[in-house]
C-alpha cells in the first residue's frame, strides 16, 4: 500500500496535548486577576484535561466493535437526556442547556455530537451496495439513503434548536452533510438538498429568537450598528488585531485583562491568544489544529472498516467546523453563533467529548490493519 503513515497514534497524542496545553495557558491568563472569570475556571479545566487524558487512553484500548454495538442505544439515551433538559428546569426562562445528575452537571448538547456521529456511522456503514438489479425502486433507495439519516439528525437538531442553541444545531447539520458525502451518496442528491435548504432559509428566519436575528444582522451589515449588538465583535477584533506579530505578552493583554471582552474564557478565548501571543502564537495554534485534522484524515484513508471511516470523517467534520467557525467568528468573519473552540474554550463537557473523540481515533489508528 502506498503512502502508509506510521506512528499516527503518537501524532494524535502530541497535537492533542499541545493544543490543550496552549489552551490552559490562555485560560490561566483569561482568568487572571479577574472578578468576572474566577480562577476556578483554570483549575477546573486542568482537572478535566487530566481526566480526559485518562479517558482518551481507555477509549483507545476498548474493543472497537463495542462502539458499533452501542451506537443506537447511546443515540436513544441522549434523545431522552435532551428531552429531559428541555422539560426540566422550569424555573430558568432563558436557555436550558444543563442537566444535573447529583453533583455532576453537563451539557447533553455536547454529548449529542458524538452520539450523532456514532449513530450515523453505524447506519451509513450498513448500506447495501447500490447494485441491486433494480430490485428497489428509486424512491426506496432515496428513502434509505437519505431520509432515514436525515431523520436521525433532525431529531437532535430540533431538540437542540429548542434549547435554544443555534450553533450546535448547525454543527449537527454539518456533520450530517459531511458524513453523507463520505458515505458515498450521489452528488446530485446532496447538491439538490443544499439548494433546497438555501431556498427554505428565509422561512427559517421566523424561527429565530430576537438575539439570534440581531447577531446575524450585525454580521451581514457590521457598519450600520457597530455600537449596539456589534459590541462583542468590535471588542474581539480590537483584541485580535492589537496583538500584531508577537503579541502583548502573556497576562498582558489590555483588552482581555480589562474586561472589555465578554465570554473571553469560553467562546472568545481565541482573541486572548491572538492579543497576548500575536500572529505567531495564533498561527502556531492553527497549525496544531491543522496537523491534528490532517493526521486524522490519514487514519480515515487507511482504515478499511466503513464504520471506522465514517466515524473518523464525522469527527474530522465537527473538529474542522468548530475550529474554523470559532476562529472566524472571533475575527468577525462569521456571525456570533455561540460555538466553543475545541480543547481550549472553558467547558468541561466539551473538553471531555473532544478528548473521547480523539480516543476513538487512537483506537482506529492502532487497529487499522485488522480490518
Amino acid at each position: 500500500m502506498p503512502n502508509v503513515k506510521r506512528n499516527l497514534d503518537k501524532k494524535i497524542w502530541i497535537y492533542t496535548i499541545s493544543i490543550i496545553a496552549m489552551g490552559l495557558i490562555a485560560l490561566y491568563s483569561a482568568a487572571h486577576e479577574n472578578v468576572r472569570v474566577s480562577h476556578k475556571v483554570f483549575y477546573d479545566q486542568f482537572t478535566f484535561a487530566l481526566l480526559g487524558i485518562g479517558l482518551m487512553y481507555v477509549i483507545g484500548k476498548i474493543d472497537y466493535r463495542r462502539f458499533y454495538d452501542g451506537a443506537y442505544v447511546f443515540y436513544l439515551i441522549n434523545v431522552v437526556l435532551l428531552a429531559y433538559v428541555l422539560l426540566g428546569g422550569r424555573h430558568a426562562l432563558g436557555a436550558r442547556r444543563w442537566l444535573e445528575l447529583g453533583p455532576i452537571s453537563f451539557q447533553p448538547s455536547e454529548v449529542t455530537k458524538l452520539a450523532l456521529i456514532l449513530a450515523l456511522g453505524r447506519y451509513l456503514s450498513n448500506r447495501r451496495p447500490s447494485l441491486s438489479f433494480n430490485f428497489f425502486t428509486k424512491a426506496q433507495t432515496f428513502w434509505r439513503e437519505f431520509f432515514v439519516p436525515f431523520g436521525i439528525t433532525s431529531v437532535y437538531m430540533i431538540l437542540i434548536f429548542k434549547q435554544p442553541d443555534l450553533g450546535t444545531a448547525l454543527m449537527l447539520f454539518g456533520i450530517f452533510i459531511v458524513m453523507l458525502f463520505a458515505g458515498g451518496i450521489e452528488y446530485r442528491i446532496i447538491l439538490g438538498f443544499l439548494i433546497f435548504c438555501l431556498c427554505l432559509s428565509p422561512l427559517g428566519w421566523s424561527f429565530l429568537k430576537q438575539y439570534q436575528k440581531d447577531r446575524l444582522l450585525v454580521f451581514l451589515n457590521p457598519n450600520i450598528d457597530p455600537l449596539g449588538a456589534g459590541y462583542t465583535i468590535i471588542q474581539s477584533k480590537i483584541a485580535m488585531g492589537s496583538g500584531q506579530i508577537f503579541g502583548k505578552g502573556w497576562l498582558a493583554g489590555t483588552q482581555s485583562q480589562l474586561n472589555f471582552l465578554p465570554e473571553r474564557h469560553t467562546d472568545f478565548i481565541f482573541s486572548v491568544i491572538g492579543e497576548e501571543w500575536g500572529f505567531v502564537g495564533a498561527l502556531l495554534l492553527v497549525y496544531f489544529y491543522f496537523r491534528l485534522i490532517s493526521n486524522s484524515l490519514y487514519i480515515a484513508e487507511q482504515v478499511k472498516d466503513p464504520f471506522g471511516v465514517l466515524v473518523t470523517v464525522g469527527i474530522i467534520a465537527i473538529l474542522t467546523l468548530q475550529v474554523i467557525i470559532n476562529i472566524g467568528m472571533v475575527m468577525g468573519l462569521f456571525p456570533v453563533v455561540g460555538l466553543t473552540l475545541p480543547f481550549i474554550s472553558y467547558g468541561r463537557s466539551s473538553l471531555l467529548i473532544f478528548m473521547m473523540m480523539m480516543g476513538f481515533l487512537l483506537n482506529l489508528s492502532r487497529r487499522r490493519t485488522i480490518f
Binding site: 426562562l93 432563558g94 458525502f181 463520505a182 455600537l227 506579530i245
Partner: protein, 570 residues
C-alpha cells in the same frame, strides 16, 4: 476519492483562516493596537431599567428611583489628597473612611470605583460642577428598586439584590455578571428574566487630561418589561390588617380562572429593607426573627390540614361507592381499634355524611378511613392536588406530603391501621400548603373543574394565557354536590363548626380544621372555603399558625369576607 475532496476543502478553509489572521493582525495590526493601547479607554457602566410590578388595577408595587453614585477612575487621579478632602467636605464623610473604601474597592486602574452610593441630588450637582478640578471624578446615575406599598404583598414580590456566589453559578449562562441586580424570592425572582433590563456601558476614549475624546462604543442598557399581577392590593390590605399581630396566612383565589387575588403571610417585612443601607438594623432583626418573616407560609409552609382533610376522604368514600350520603354511623365520642383509643370531641347518636361534615365528627371519618384504606385516601387526595406542587408562578414552592404504604416502606417504617385512622382526619404525617387547600376547595366548588393558581396577568402589554388552562377531574358531579351540601351545612347548621360564618350578605361554605402540630404548642387553626359573591366567586383559606381552636380562623374569615363585600371586592 471523496476523502481527497474533503482534504482539499479543509486545506482551503485553513488557508482562509491564516489569510484573515494575517490581515487582521499584521496588515491592520497597527490600527487596532492604537485603539487598544495608545488611547486610554474608560468604561462607564450603565444600569438597565428594571421593569415595574403592578397590581391588577395598575397599582404600582415595585418601582425604580434614580440614585446618584460617586465614581472615581483610579488611573485619572492626579491629586489624591485634594480629591478626598474635597469629597469628604461635600459628602460629610470622614476622609480616612473614604480612602479605606477606595482601597478596598479598587480593582484595575481603568475600572471606576464607586465611592458613595445614593447621594442627594444637590450634592451630586456640586460634585458635577467641580469635575474640571478632578477629572477622575464623575457622577453615575443608577436606579434603585423601591416598593411604595411596603408591607403590602411582601411575600409575593420578594426583593432584589446583588447576585451572590451561589446564584451566579446558576445564572451566568444567561448573561448575568457579578455586579448586576437579580431578584430574590417571589415574583422578582420568578420573573427576573422578563423584569431585568440589560446592563450596558459606554466605552470612551479619553485624552491625557481625562476628557472624553470620542465615544468608542456604547451598549445601551435595555429596559425590562413591566409585569402586571393578578393581586388586588385592597384585598392584600384587608388580609394584612386581619393578620397584623398573628402568625399565619390568608390566600384568596378566583375560582373562575385561578387568579390569586390575595396572598398574605404574616409576619411580613418591608422589602425596602433589603435595598436601602440605612435599614441595616431592621434587616438584621428580620433575619434573626424567631417566626421567620421571610418564609412565605402560603406556599413554603407545610402544615397538617387536620379536619380540612375530611373533604378528600368523604369524596373518596362516595366516589368509590363505599358509602352513600345516607350512610350513618353513631359517635360515642371515642373510637377503639386494636386496643387503642382515638378521640373525638363530640357525641352523636347517629349521623349521615352531611351532618358529620358539618359537625366535623372524627369517628365517622375513622370508619370511612378504614373502609377506604390508606391507598384509597391517597388516590383521591392526590387527584385533588395534595402532595404535589400547584406550580404557581413563585419560586421554592413546597409539595407537602401524603403518607402511604409505599413511601413508608421506602423509609423502612411499618404501616399500621392506626396510621390510616390518623390519616383520615388529616393528622399523622399528612402535610399540605395553604395554597394547595385553596386549589382543592376551588376544584370542589366548581364540581371537578381544576384551575391553575397563578399570579401573572400581563407581561408588558401582552396578556399571559398559559395558566388559563382548565381540566376536568374524573369524579362525578353528584359526588361534589353532596360534599358541597356538607360544607354549606358546616355554616348553616346551628351545630356546624363554622356557624359564625352564617351571614346574609355572603354565601359561604367550607371546612374548619384544628390540626395538632408535632410540638407541644397550640393547634393550627384552619378555615378553608369558598364564597359566592356579586363580583366574583372565590376560594380562600385562613390559617393561624398555632392559633388554637378553628373558631379563631372562622372569625377572621368572617371579617375578611365582610370587609371584601363592603369594598365591593366580592
Amino acid at each position: 476519492m471523496r476523502l481527497k475532496i474533503i482534504r482539499i476543502i479543509i486545506i482551503v478553509l485553513f488557508l482562509m483562516i491564516v489569510a484573515e489572521l494575517f490581515y487582521v493582525q499584521i496588515i491592520r495590526g497597527r490600527f487596532y493596537y492604537n485603539l487598544s493601547v495608545n488611547n486610554r479607554i474608560r468604561v462607564v457602566p450603565l444600569e438597565g431599567w428594571r421593569g415595574r410590578i403592578m397590581g391588577r388595577r395598575g397599582e404600582i408595587l415595585a418601582d425604580n428611583k434614580i440614585s446618584y453614585n460617586v465614581m472615581v477612575t483610579p488611573q485619572e487621579i492626579k491629586d489624591m489628597e485634594g480629591l478626598f478632602s474635597f469629597l469628604s467636605a461635600v459628602l460629610g464623610m470622614d476622609q480616612a473612611r473614604l480612602t479605606a473604601i477606595y482601597r478596598e474597592r479598587k480593582f484595575t486602574p481603568f475600572t471606576p470605583v464607586t465611592l458613595a452610593e445614593n447621594i442627594p441630588r444637590d450634592k451630586a450637582i456640586v460634585i458635577e460642577e467641580n469635575k474640571f478640578r478632578f477629572p477622575s471624578l464623575f457622577i453615575q446615575e443608577s436606579f434603585k428598586r423601591y416598593y411604595p406599598l411596603r408591607y403590602n404583598s411582601t411575600h409575593i414580590l420578594g426583593y432584589v439584590g446583588k447576585i451572590n456566589r451561589s446564584r451566579i453559578e446558576q445564572v451566568k449562562e444567561y448573561g448575568y455578571s457579578p455586579p448586576s441586580l437579580i431578584g430574590y424570592s417571589g415574583v422578582e425572582e420568578f420573573y427576573d428574566p422578563q423584569l431585568r433590563g440589560g446592563d450596558g456601558g459606554l466605552q470612551i476614549e479619553v485624552n491625557s487630561r481625562g476628557q472624553q475624546v470620542r465615544l468608542l462604543s456604547l451598549r445601551e442598557p435595555t429596559k425590562g418589561q413591566d409585569i402586571t399581577l393578578t393581586i388586588d392590593t385592597a384585598i392584600q390590605q384587608i388580609a394584612m390588617e386581619l393578620l397584623a399581630d398573628k402568625t399565619g396566612t390568608i390566600v384568596v383565589m378566583d375560582t373562575q380562572n385561578g387568579e390569586v387575588l390575595g396572598l398574605v403571610s404574616s409576619p411580613a417585612y418591608d422589602p425596602n429593607y433589603f435595598i436601602e443601607k440605612e435599614y441595616n438594623s431592621q434587616l438584621k432583626r428580620i433575619l434573626s426573627h424567631p417566626k421567620s418573616p421571610l418564609l412565605n407560609r402560603a406556599i413554603n409552609g407545610q402544615f397538617p390540614p387536620g379536619s380540612v382533610f375530611k373533604i378528600p376522604v368523604a369524596l373518596a368514600a362516595l366516589d368509590s361507592k363505599k358509602i352513600t350520603q345516607h350512610t350513618t354511623f353513631s359517635c360515642p365520642g371515642y373510637f377503639e381499634y386494636g386496643g387503642v383509643v382515638f378521640g373525638d370531641t363530640c357525641q352523636y347518636a347517629s349521623q349521615n355524611l352531611i351532618e358529620s361534615i358539618a359537625h366535623s365528627c372524627n369517628v365517622y371519618f375513622y370508619h370511612l378511613g378504614l373502609m377506604l384504606g390508606a391507598e384509597g385516601i391517597y388516590k383521591y387526595a392526590r387527584a385533588l392536588g395534595l402532595g404535589e406542587l400547584t406550580n404557581v408562578d413563585l419560586p421554592y414552592e413546597k409539595p407537602g406530603f401524603l403518607p402511604n404504604r409505599r413511601n413508608y416502606l421506602d423509609r423502612r417504617k411499618p404501616w399500621y391501621a392506626g396510621n390510616t385512622i390518623n390519616m383520615s382526619i388529616g393528622q399523622g404525617d399528612v402535610l399540605t400548603t395553604p395554597l394547595q387547600l385553596v386549589k382543592m376547595m376551588s376544584t370542589v366548588s366548581r364540581e371537578g373543574i381544576e384551575v391553575q393558581p397563578h399570579l401573572i396577568k400581563k407581561i408588558g402589554e401582552r396578556e399571559v394565557n398559559q395558566y388559563n388552562a382548565q381540566s376536568q377531574l374524573k369524579i362525578s358531579k353528584a359526588v361534589f354536590e353532596i360534599i358541597k351540601q356538607g360544607m354549606r351545612a358546616t355554616v348553616t347548621d346551628p351545630a356546624g363548626t363554622a356557624h359564625d360564618l352564617n351571614m346574609p350578605q355572603v354565601y359561604v361554605a367550607g371546612k374548619t380544621g384544628t390540626a395538632q402540630s408535632s410540638s407541644n404548642k397550640e393547634h393550627h387553626a384552619w378555615f378553608v372555603g369558598y364564597a359566592q359573591g356579586d363580583v366574583r366567586n372565590i376560594a380562600f383559606c385562613v390559617l393561624l399558625e398555632h392559633g388554637g381552636s378553628s373558631h379563631n380562623a372562622t372569625f377572621i374569615a368572617r371579617d375578611l369576607l365582610l370587609m371584601m363585600r363592603q369594598e365591593q371586592l366580592l
